[in-house]
């Protein structure tokens, strides 16, 4: 190509003109992306190494990896049993017959930061306690990951069922396809408030009424307050909101499968179930892969739902970073949390690029 250009100078000039125009047209996009993505990201990385306080004139000092250490430090300590002063034997709870242990506060480190209990477990007859310097953040990572895995799996299964139904011919199919867009079109802020109301802890909440009718509860379940139900409620809301998006992607994939394949299978006498596993699923694999990763990347950064419904009672990683910035004004600390979220998403994204790399032009 290069030698060709030299031979025909007129083309080379056109080429140069075209190149200049291209750069001119790309410029606005890149200026904007530098201003709102690359530069802020760089500054977040830098700020995460400082103790900067948001909206204040306080001098900023460089603290190295302290923010990360405070966010992520974990410790395991042995929890000694309470000793009876008189006998020197471990105290036994008279009701349950279990050994009573010292309180977690007594064994977890306090300096320079106070560690708090995440969980306790027994191993080889000794009681251990797992503590974290920032319990909320470690929980937010755990909760977010659980949320991601369960929502994505449920959405895939339900989305597949919906897509298969809507892909068959039946009267009213057009309407069903329109209905599929309803949850997607509702603002997340709106759907969060809608569900918040439906999940009211008394029988003014419809979910409690339905649960009682089905014999699943007493009509007083505090879905959004009781930690046992909080995450399940978040998952239910998200599944409702985004399953139809998953179904849309899968439906588009289903429509690309040639009809002849099914006709041939029909002639061979293969059952519908067999057809699904022998034709549909393998043909749909690339679409499923993309849909899964789209949803995963989206779910990892979940914010609206957690911030609106659970506020500060339980965090997703994103809502944790938000509250550290706006609530506590700890800009450096919040930035460090953001960097960790960014790294987690990058890991997922690399996985994404690898998967798509196969079908590059």
């Amino acid at each position: 190509m290069a030698s060709l250009r030299k031979k025909i100078p007129r083309v080379s000039q056109l080429q140069k003109q075209e190149e200049r125009l291209a750069l001119l047209l790309l410029l606005p996009t890149f200026i904007i992306l530098i201003a709102i993505a690359f530069y802020p990201l760089g500054s977040v990385f830098y700020t995460s190494l400082t103790d900067r306080v948001f909206a204040s004139a306080q001098p900023v000092s460089f603290v190295g990896l302290d923010n990360y250490k405070n966010l992520l430090s974990l410790t395991i300590k042995e929890l000694p049993p309470k000793i009876d002063e008189g006998t020197g034997e471990p105290l036994i709870d008279p009701e349950t017959g279990d050994i009573e242990y010292e309180s977690s506060v007594s064994v977890l480190p306090r300096d320079p930061v106070r560690f708090r209990e995440l969980t306790q477990f027994s191993l080889l007859g000794t009681r251990y306690i797992l503590g974290a310097s920032d319990r909320d953040f470690i929980w937010s990572i755990w909760d977010t990951l659980v949320f991601v895995v369960i929502t994505v799996i449920l959405e895939l299964i339900l989305g597949m069922i919906i897509a298969l139904v809507v892909n068959t011919r039946f009267p009213g199919r057009g309407m069903m396809r329109a209905i599929m867009l309803v949850p997607w079109a509702i603002l997340t802020a709106v759907s969060s408030r809608m569900w918040e109301y439906m999940l009211n802890p008394t029988r003014t909440g419809v979910i409690n009424v339905i649960f009682q009718m089905l014999g699943l509860g007493d009509g007083q379940t505090p879905f959004l307050v009781d930690p046992q139900y909080q995450l399940k409620a978040m998952i239910a809301i998200d599944v409702w909101k985004t399953t139809s998006f998953m179904a849309l992607l899968l439906l588009a994939g289903l429509q690309l499968i040639p009809k002849e394949l099914y006709e041939a299978a029909e002639v061979d006498g293969a059952s519908k179930v067999r057809q699904f596993f022998a034709i549909t699923l393998p043909m749909l694999r690339p679409v499923i892969a993309v849909a899964l990763v789209f949803r995963t990347l989206d779910a990892v950064r979940v914010f609206d739902l957690f911030q609106i419904v659970l506020q500060q009672t339980r965090y997703s990683m994103a809502s944790f970073a938000y509250y550290q910035l706006i609530g506590s004004q700890k800009m450096g600390y919040s930035s460090a949390a953001s960097v960790i979220i960014f790294l987690i998403i990058t890991i997922f994204a690399i996985w994404y690029i690898r998967m798509l790399g196969v079908e590059q032009e």
Partner: protein, 289 residues
């Protein structure tokens, strides 16, 4: 057709049962919002709650428009609607203008660095907003921007890459001969783009524009953060999330639901009218074609 076997009839019944369950699953929460928005405070407090608004004494059907009237009198909500419209429309127009320039360059012009540029922009579509939150806020404060321009500016983060991505694919699909013949006629590449190619991309512009608009209308994290101090600049999602009634001290769910229904209906109409285009746009990235 004459004699359907028993298993076929059962299959039919099962199929329709699934259809009904799916329809119920997808529509029920929205139905519930409408139902609740038509109830008075006393009706909302009824236990067990009723599936249609009923009078607490007589159990007769009784709906009220009170909540809707209250919402229309709610200054915060109305300001939110105005702000959201300004922000979403400007974001869409800006993203389409700048995006189509870039997409034309990436789709139709030959230059070095084309593929890396495309991938760089594409990688931005998975960029987590929360990761740049503190940095972006610092940029905005340095530039001394007020909340509404900051929202428009920052929404480019998710609207621009998507617009570029979809439009580039569209420009690539247009035959090269159009450009060549225009150039033979003496048109500069930019004239070709502006006067000949851009009108041809109208369908793609509508699709991406709609999705950009909906995404900007839906955005919550930046809107919430940037309007922390500037309360008057709050958009609809923030207004609804922070909705408090004028009188009642407890959460006015009737009004919240009325507001929810009001902002959802125009969006639903938009989505249903442009159903095909939206589905095409949403699936553009996932399905080769």
């Amino acid at each position: 057709m004459k004699s359907l076997s028993l298993s076929k009839i059962l299959g039919r019944i099962l199929f329709w049962l699934i259809v009904i369950i799916i329809g119920f699953f997808l529509l029920f929460p929205f139905y519930w919002a409408i139902n609740s928005s038509l109830k008075s405070e006393a009706q909302l407090q009824m236990t067990p709650t009723t599936f249609i608004p009923r009078d607490p004494e007589t159990q007769e059907i009784a709906a009220t428009m009170m909540n809707y009237l209250a919402v229309f009198r709610n200054e915060k909500f109305l300001t939110g609607l105005k702000n959201s419209t300004i922000v979403a429309l400007t974001t869409t127009l800006l993203a389409l203008t700048i995006g189509s320039f870039t997409a034309f360059a990436l789709g139709k012009l030959r230059f070095r660095g084309r593929t890396p540029s495309l991938y760089l922009i594409l990688s931005m579509t998975m960029f987590p907003q929360v990761a740049v939150l503190t940095g972006l806020y610092a940029v905005i404060r340095t530039l001394d921007m007020t909340a509404i321009p900051s929202m428009i500016f920052s929404y480019m983060l998710f609207t621009l890459p998507f617009t570029v991505w979809v439009l580039t694919a569209f420009f690539k699909g247009l035959p090269d001969e159009i450009m060549q013949s225009a150039q033979v006629d003496g048109a500069t590449p930019f004239q070709t783009f502006w006067m000949i190619l851009l009108p041809l991309t109208l369908p793609a512009l509508v699709t991406t524009g709609l999705l950009a608009f909906i995404n900007a209308w839906n955005e919550y994290l930046f809107a919430l953060t940037f309007t922390t101090i500037e309360v008057d600049a709050r958009t609809v999602p923030v207004a609804i999330a922070l909705f408090t009634g004028e009188v009642s001290y407890q959460e006015p769910f009737g009004e919240i639901m009325a507001a929810a229904v009001l902002v959802t209906i125009p969006l639903l109409l938009l989505v249903l009218i442009f159903q095909r285009r939206i589905v095409a746009g949403l699936t553009a990235g996932a399905v080769k074609g």
